[in-house]
Amino acid sequence: MNIWLAVALTAVGCYAVKLLGLLVPAGVLERPLVQRLAALLPVALLAALTAQQTFAEGQALVLDAKAAGLAAAGVAFLLRAPFLLIIGAAVVVTAGVRALG
């Protein structure tokens, strides 16, 4: 039930912000500070989420095979690999390290 509540809240919230952008008059969101904040907000959220989903198990910090997988994804990005290869590298290396460990 809790999961359905989260699904519903997310669906309504995400649709509302999409619609908001199409409906509000241009001037409101066009201030430079607001635009700057909107560009930086995903950076902060994605960075925190990447770190947490890599190094957290529930509320404990852990260092496991996922860390090696994410490092591989980072290397793939630096080598300008396409999206698929970046994800693939993370999955394969994580599975490999687990199989060895």
Binding site: A26, A44, Q52, T54, G74, A90
Partner: protein, 223 residues
Amino acid sequence: MVRDALGVGVAVGLSGFAFGVTSVGNGLSLLQTCALSLLVFTGASQFALVGALAGGGNPVTAAAGAFFLGVRNAFYGLRLSQLLQLPRFVRPLAAHWVIDETTAVTLAQPTRRARRIGFTVTGLTLYVLWNLTTLLGGLGAEAIGDTDAWGLDAAGPATFLALLAPMLRSTTERAVALLAVALGLMLLPVLPEGVPVLVAALAAPLVLVVEGRKIRAREKEDR
């Protein structure tokens, strides 16, 4: 436009598959997983939500994190409404397709007609692909059972990394990312599940304030 759309389509299809796998692997049902792709249709928010719910997190804080990630779509909508000049009654329908990829393709088109076609074709294609591949990923995860043994729990964070990395162009973005990582990890053991990510989002305004101060200080020196 066709080549753009194809490239985007392949990437989205694959991340839809990864989402299906991650969501079912994290304990959501196939129906819940497909409902998310049908009704939310913005990848980063969906990944964030299932990640937060995996830890047994509170549904409201989990949804809040997903919502804040979706806020960027409002700014895409703003650009698109100027470029597409859609009639009012079409906007509620078009809104569902306002995402990173449709915006990128639309912005790349030279004329209003091409933009409208680009937006519609990309939106429709991606919506169908995203939902189909979510279903396939979910079915796949159900079939193989222990998704962690296949390393598939790394797909979620790797997707975030792939979305994040190209954004880290300047010192400001890197400072925001570093501060957010530090806040997110340090607060994780002490705050309820889902809340640390929301606090970490404060890295964005904090860095902006510091940056603003520096610019003002420099302007004073110049005078």
